[in-house]
Symmetry: C2
Subunit: 166 residues, 2 copies
DNA sequence: ATTGAATATGAGACTAAATCTCAATTATAA
DNA sequence: TTATAATTGAGATTTAGTCTCATATTCAAT
């Protein structure tokens, strides 16, 4: 399985205009930092700018490299530390796509999607289905389980790869 | 989060008597091996016996250790290699419970369940919901996606941990 | 039985991702 | 200023898992 980490955005998981969200989400992050007596440093800002400015699924090391090329130098340790903070305040999610390491993605508050992962070509399709979400909530309810988050990954062959019989 | 890897079996994901299944599933494995011109060696047999004899979620290293204590010595490499084979023929599934490494579990052919994972105490609850499964199939259908397998993990606080407000 | 080819194993080297350490730096408040 | 807390980066360390390769085993064909 290749890992090109391509991402298809499905109807139902629409792209949000980056204009409004980027700055307001950055504010959410800053508030989160202030709340914990943490500072918005040059390095942290570079990391969030890079992440909020881009799109799709990415690896931690990718951010290190992109920053190295484009703007300021930020150490791997700081990138990981900043990702940890972004996870904590729910502006970033971690995802395991079946390979070795973790991928991350920028999440817009209140939005959520799950993933179809092609094990042949690495294509990742995002989808959202409210009925499915509701059923999950019902299941949690039945078990008196207080969900914080979930991850549904469906592995298989995308439409393109399914044509060619294996 | 502790990692005691306790497992609660929910109604709807009932335990199957080990009597009948264990031997017949072992036969499935042997047939699978023969089919690929692989041999049922002393070591491979020790690994499957250990796995099919036990229950719940376990780590690879756990199998190495259990075998070291109880019966034959099998190298880590061979345990990993045998797990790979068991995954391939679908008698074992790999699962990521949020910690560092992977867990595995023995799966009975045709059965399937998903997991509620308590991030507080590590308790893992298994559940199965046919309606949910059907909806997933429908989604795959919509995307012309041929599913091979999926993994739904719901993280949060179990009934016990949810009582004590964090 | 002997041989030869294919298959399997184990010890330990190796890898990759992520975390940790700690000395040096920077921010903030008194 | 000075003290305190927060932050950083370089590189060491950890961990889970994979890989290598010399040796051993299996099995079918003589
Ligand atoms: Mn996504
Ligand atoms: Mn399970
Ligand atoms: Zn594909
Ligand atoms: Zn719990």
């Amino acid at each position: 399985m290749r890992r090109p980490a391509q991402t298809s955005r499905a109807a139902g998981a629409p792209a949000r205009g980056a204009e409004q969200s980027e700055s307001s989400e950055k504010k959410l992050f800053v508030d989160f930092l202030l709340d914990k007596n943490l500072k918005l440093t040059r390095q942290r800002e570079a990391v969030v700018d890079e992440i909020f400015g881009g799109s799709g699924h990415f690896e931690a090391e990718e951010i290190v490299q992109r920053l190295k090329l484009n703007r300021s130098r930020v150490s791997r340790a700081t990138v990981y530390r900043t990702l940890e903070l972004l996870l904590e305040c729910k502006l970033v999610e971690r995802l395991e796509l079946g390979g070795t390491g973790s991928y991350y993605e920028h999440v817009h508050p209140g939005e959520h999607h799950d993933h179809l992962i092609c094990t042949q070509c690495g294509n990742v399709i995002e989808f959202h289905n409210e009925k499915l979400e509701n059923m999950q909530a019902e299941i949690c309810n039945n078990f008196d389980f207080q969900e914080t988050h979930h991850s549904l990954r469906i592995f298989g062959l995308c439409s393109k790869c399914g044509q060619i019989p294996q």
